[in-house]
Symmetry: C2
Amino acid sequence: MATEGTTHHSRDILPEPTLHRLPWYLAYVSLLRAAGIEYVSSTQIARQINVDASMIAKDLSFLNIKGKTRIGYEVTSLEHVLQDFLGFKVGHNAVIIGVGSLGNSLIQDSGLTNYGLNIVAGFDIRPDLEGTSICGVPIYNIDELHRRLPALNASIGIVTVPVERAQEVSDLAVKAGIKALWNFTPFRITAPKGIVIQNTSIYSHLAVMYNRLGAGNTK
Amino acid sequence: MATEGTTHHSRDILPEPTLHRLPWYLAYVSLLRAAGIEYVSSTQIARQINVDASMIAKDLSFLNIKGKTRIGYEVTSLEHVLQDFLGFKVGHNAVIIGVGSLGNSLIQDSGLTNYGLNIVAGFDIRPDLEGTSICGVPIYNIDELHRRLPALNASIGIVTVPVERAQEVSDLAVKAGIKALWNFTPFRITAPKGIVIQNTSIYSHLAVMYNRLGAGNTK
């Protein structure tokens, strides 16, 4: 998966496609749990999600859980193990870098908290934003990133600046101690070895969608 | 790219990896244009973006533009051709289905407009949201989707409901005339042939990032 790739870091490398599929299983298993279903087989998950049963069994083999022959996995356990394994149950502190339209939106999106992401501060270049707060999240000047980061205990920097600033603020964030950059800009940022880069290219997804719809003809 | 895949639809199928890379080139070329640079070679783009020059030349061969030997592509033309080709210059009307935290955020994210996406209405099940508006975008009851869609002239449905509603509202949207589903839930929705599905799994991206950071140990 080159386009959404995470780079660097070598310990415990789980295949990225597996990591992308596990949240799908989690979503389905959570539904089953809510519906009061007790057991689920990989065949059942396969039918629902449209992925090969053998691939599901392989993906789940990375987890510390065993299914029972003919019965399958216990739904509640599988849900917990998946949440745990995916890191959704632990709070990961993050800072927003670039409190424009998208940065603002992400701060307000309380859904991220359910997946373990706590946005603890925003940083921006605009002087009028300094000292304000959004949904209780304080906004500081970008110059303060280095000084404030240790107390914020955040290892994730969410990059939501305009594209021409993407590399510059990423460098700044890494210097300040950020260990992972979640890049929402369409710019291909680079970072020293050991720094995790995750690209979420929603504009690329728009481009694919437009093209499949027949770009140019659609209203 | 199985995990972020678009399914169905057969005419003018451009390779999805190409469609994902083109916005990167556009981002870089826009920077060059802003910096007053007149020409760029695929080698230069390659160096900046960390993609093989031959791959860039191949990707750009899908566009109706020719570079000059030794000089490269004219920056302004390349920017225009890319924007055009990617459908970012045409307005695509879309409706938000599920005006919760994320749906709300996307309505407020004015950045999407720069990439050709006009959110023209929101639909939700909550009676208290009916008749309200967010940044001028009217919110209707989900029951009205079928009746209102023709006048809204929207072919894209952005699915931002809770995961357990994802399939249900997708079916509803398709019945109402929606041609493309932009799915932000972690649920693997299915749709009849001919309907475009684009998954943007930000939670999957979180999972990858947590894992690469060393899931469980991070604060």
